[in-house]
Structure formats: C-alpha cells, structure tokens
Amino acid sequence: MSHLSRADVARLAALARIDMNDADLDRLSGQIDAIVDAVALVSEVANQDVPATSHPIPMSNVHRVDEVRPSLAQADALAAAPEAEDGRFRVPRILGEEA
C-alpha cells in the first residue's frame, strides 16, 4: 500500500530543508514509502484508551541551582563557525528578492 507519493516526499524534504533532485527522489521515495508501510501497524492503537509515554523514566520539576558558572568564551563559540564577523555568526541574507 502506498502512503507517500514522490510529490509528498519532495514536499517533506523541503520542509526538512534538504534539497532533493530528481535522482534523489527516484532513489529515496520508494524506500521511505516502504518504511512508512512497515511502521503503519502502530496506528492500530491510535484509538485505544491508553495514556501516552513521552519519556521512559518519569521526572518533573528538574531544576539546577541558579548560579554563575564559567561558559564558552566568545572566541571559542565562534571558532568553528563557517563565517563570523564582529563577534557574531555571519549568514547569507535572510530575506527574499522583494524585500
């Protein structure tokens, strides 16, 4: 049974910010659809009245002492950046043509 079309995979890849060309979609769409098919069994329990577990060992209100401690120096934080300027991370422009 097909769950995801090639167009669905293209749309989801765009949402996940992964460029996919035709060759990628040819290779990956069928595999991804097969995985969805293999996991679809879980939807059998969708309507069962069972509480959800998001975290295996229940814990709540985990705090640590609010105290000043050493942290990364600015130079260390920027050292691995692809590009930095004036003590900040530098990125390509964030707005489109019309801006």
Partner: protein
C-alpha cells in the same frame, strides 16, 4: 614478552599497580596494534597518539610519586565519535561535521579524563548513530574482525570492532535502539545500555533524546562493570540524569561469578525468538539457558504481546525526535556550509550535501510523522505503544528478576547485503528496541559461535529500571560457565588478523 593488548582492562589495572607494566607501554602496544590492523578493520576515525601517550606518561609519573590513582588510571580507552572531545575532531560519522573541533568536553569525556584513562581515539559509527552496520558512516564502513567481509554491527561498530581486534580493551558506546548491544553480539564482545538517565548525555550528539543512552563496551563482564562505574552518576547538565548513586556493577559481577544464581528467576521472552531467528543463534541461546539452570537459576517463560508494535513505534519516535535534534545542522554555527544566495537555500544545499541517504530518509519520515493530520496516527500512537510495552515489562518482571533473549536474530551479515533495504536493516534490532522504549537496562554478552557459520552469537539480559547491577550478576555467572566450557574467552577464538607494517 607479554602481549598486553590481549589482557583484560582489570588485568592491565592490576599490572600497573604492581609495577609490571607502565601506562606508556600499554598505550604504545595498542597504538602499534591499531597501526598494524586498522587499515583492514577501520574501527577508528581519529587516532589520538600524542595526547594518549602524554596522559599515560603523566599517570606513570604520578604512580611513581605515590599518588593515589583511580582503578582504571593508565588503562587506554576508545571513544565513539558521538561524544564531543575537546582537542579531538568529532564527526558523529557525518560529512556535515567533517573536521569539527568541539569547544568543550562531554560529561563522560570529562569523567574518562578524571579517571586518568588515555584516550586512544574516536571510533567509527553510522552517521548520527542511524544504522546497524556502520555502512552509513560517511567515512566508509568498519569491518568485522571475525570476517572482514561482514558488518561489525551498528551504530557502534567501530567501538565493538576495536575491542574484538585487540585495538582497545575498553570503549564507549551509545545505544538508542541497540547500538551498543547489537555490535557487541556480532563481534563476540560485551556491551551494556544502562537505565535511561544512568549516564549523562551532556555532550553526546543527540539522535533521539528520549531513547539515547551512553554505555560501556569491553571484552569481559567485569571490565564492562568497571567502566560503567566510571561513566555513571548524576549530572546537573543533563535534566534527564538520575539523581541516584552509581550502581555497584563490579561487586555484582564478582557476586555472580563467585556465588552462582540460586533463587534467581530468569524469564525467556516468548516473542523474542522462534521464527526468523537463525538455527545456530537459537541453539547457543538454549545452551546458555542450561548454564544458567546449572548455576542455580529458575527458567520461566514470559509473554510480552505488545512487542509486535515495538519496531513500528521506534521508527516513528526516533525519526520524529531526530528531525528536531538535527535541525541544528543549519550551516550557521558549526560544520559544513554550501553557500547559496539566501540562508534558506544555503541550509537546503548544505543539508543535501552534508547528510547521507539514511539520515535523509529518517528526517523526511520524522517530518511526516509530526505533520498536521498524521501526528495522532503515528507519533501519538507510538507514544501509546511505549506505555503498552512498559506494562508488558512490568508484568514480566513480576514473574522474573531478569529477562533474556538472543541479542540479534542472526549472526553478522555481509557488508552491502542490506544497505539499500532499510526495512531489512531495521529488523536487526527487533530484540534490542523494547528496552530503549521502556528505558530499562540491557546487556549483550557472547554465548558462542553459530555452528553453521562460525560467527559470534549474543545473549541479551534485561533488568528493571535502576537494577543495572542484576545484568552484571547474571552476566558474570553465565560468562564464567561459558569460558570454562570454551577453555578461554570467545574473543581469543577469533581468526588472527593479518598485521601490516
């Protein structure tokens, strides 16, 4: 002359304390072994030669000066490339982090350094720990020392292979669905996934945060126990870290090996066996049960009917969490950047170039499972399955103190055999996944080789949450019986690797 690479970590520790060997000699012996065999095995992505020798020399100097040192001081260790290590490159097996030098140490890295253990290097893994064979590493697969044409398991195939190839006596792994236990099983070594929260995840590059757990890998149960005690403990830097004492793993291992298993109830999980399990795997499993019986344990059968949903739930939860965790690889703060006109185009191009196919498959899958209209059917259902599986475990642990199964359905398959068939690859982890979904601890230890192919078979032990010590008690008792039967450790029966100079 003694070949120190063949000794256990605790034997090395005793020899260091007795003054019959120095840490520099131990580290050099392992570096020589790595130089001789790692061209064929490819367990290491980075070898930390100078720093390891410097740490060894400082330990030797302190020992000579009479300084009180930790148990494993001077004993070398390999670290899976998922842990950040200051001064050593960290890639998590991905091209997107090629050459990245982390600006800080993971908590477990700090603990290794505080324990004064020289770090031999960083071990290979499937990209971001997504895989069961290391074939999804961007830097090429690791080869199983038992048969170089076969997979070493994954994602921690590098750590497990380094042990089986005598390149390291101890290694760190991480286990999200079996990435410590399955490689241990197929390489004839030992590995433990602790109770969720038992070891800090701070500085471990996250795959699926509600499933990931770091753990110890070694060739013997007692060595694994000693490393577990070094790694474990509460850490304020990890909000899911358990605020409890570290379990007494080494004492439990000694107890099991010395006093047997009288009064211990061992539950065989009906659903983790039978059809789909290789004949030789089943045979070695049954023989291990006989050994446990002979040691005084009572064997009972338990049923966990919800396990039928485990694989599906796992491959919904893991990709969902991964799709969020891997959003940080956006070309801004670290790692690869493939420059385009705008930041969004740059992100899309960078992630296309930097991620391999398995990562792309899972990120698309996670994005789907969390999308409007599908969230309840997939992610919501998977979380309900987690509850059902936890209930199955609670019921099973009323009848038994530990649960057991084969670790994997088969012995290691050939490299390339399943790399383009994700669903077949996922079936490797069918017996290990339930423990991660429930947060309970698990161990794999060798139970012999399958008669039909001469390749290692793993025996899995599961215990209730917080009862990690039980794994070591039962594991040590079984190991003692098996080693007595074999006349030596399973690792020592692997074919000799050709050493190149």
């Amino acid at each position: 002359m003694t070949d120190w690479t063949r000794a256990s970590a605790l034997e090395m520790s005793a020899a260091l304390r007795a003054g019959t060997v120095t840490s520099v000699e131990l580290v050099q012996a392992h570096l020589d072994r790595i130089a001789g065999v790692d061209g064929a095995v490819h367990a290491f992505l980075h070898v930390n030669t100078e720093d390891a020798l410097a740490v060894a020399a400082s330990v030797d100097a302190d020992r000579a000066a009479g300084v009180d040192l930790p148990l494993l001081a001077g004993v070398p260790i390999a670290i899976k490339d998922i842990l950040v290590t200051k001064g050593m490159p960290t890639t998590a097996g991905s091209k997107i982090l090629e050459g990245w030098m982390p600006p800080y140490d993971a908590t477990v890295t700090s603990k290794i350094r505080q324990a004064r253990m020289p770090i031999l290097g960083k071990t290979n893994m499937d990209e971001f720990a997504m895989g069961s064979s290391t074939e999804h590493s961007a830097y090429g697969p690791t080869h199983n020392p038992w048969d170089l044409d076969r997979i070493p398991g994954g994602s921690g195939g590098g750590s497990a292979a380094s042990l089986a190839a005598w390149e390291a006596p101890l290694a760190i792994g991480s286990d999200t669905g079996g990435s410590i236990r399955q490689p241990a099983a197929v390489t004839g070594t030992v590995g433990v996934k602790p109770t969720y929260g038992g070891v800090s995840r701070y500085g471990a590059i996250a795959l699926a945060s509600s499933l990931d757990q770091l753990g110890p890998c070694a060739r013997t149960v007692a060595d694994t126990a000693a490393l577990h005690e070094v790694m474990g403990g509460h850490d304020v830097m990890d909000a899911t870290s358990l605020d409890q004492p570290v379990p007494s793993c080494l004492d439990a291992a000694r107890d099991g090996a010395t006093n047997g298993l009288k009064g211990v109830r061992v539950g065989v999980v009906k659903e983790l066996g039978g059809d789909g399990y290789q004949a030789g795997v089943k045979q070695r499993f049954e023989e291990a049960l006989d050994h446990l019986r002979a040691a005084g344990a009572e064997i009972v059968e338990v049923s966990c009917p919800s396990f039928v949903y485990a694989m599906g739930a796992y491959y919904v939860i893991l990709p969902s969490e991964a799709s969020s965790n891997l959003a940080k690889f956006d070309s801004v703060r670290f790692g690869l950047r493939v420059e385009r006109d705008t930041i969004e185009q740059t992100m899309g191009a960078t992630r296309a170039e930097g991620f391999g196919d398995e990562v792309k498959r899972r990120l698309v899958l996670g994005t789907y499972a969390l999308s409007a209209g599908y969230r309840d059917a997939y992610y919501g259902s998977a979380q309900k399955v987690r509850t059902l599986i936890q209930r199955d475990f609670v019921a099973a642990f009323e009848k038994a103190d530990v649960l057991v199964s084969p670790t994997t359905p088969t012995t290691p398959f050939k490299l390339g055999e399943r790399v383009d068939d994700p669903v077949a690859m996922y079936l490797n982890d069918i017996a290990t996944i339930p423990a991660n979904l429930a947060g309970i601890p698990g161990m794999s230890l060798p139970s012999g080789v399958a008669p039909e192919d001469g390749l290692p078979v793993g025996f899995q032990i599961l215990a209730p949450a917080h009862e990690d010590a039980r794994l070591y008690r039962i594991g040590a008792a079984l190991e003692k019986a098996l080693v007595a039967e074999w006349g030596g450790s399973l690792a020592s029966m692997a074919p000799e690797l050709e050493v190149t100079r």
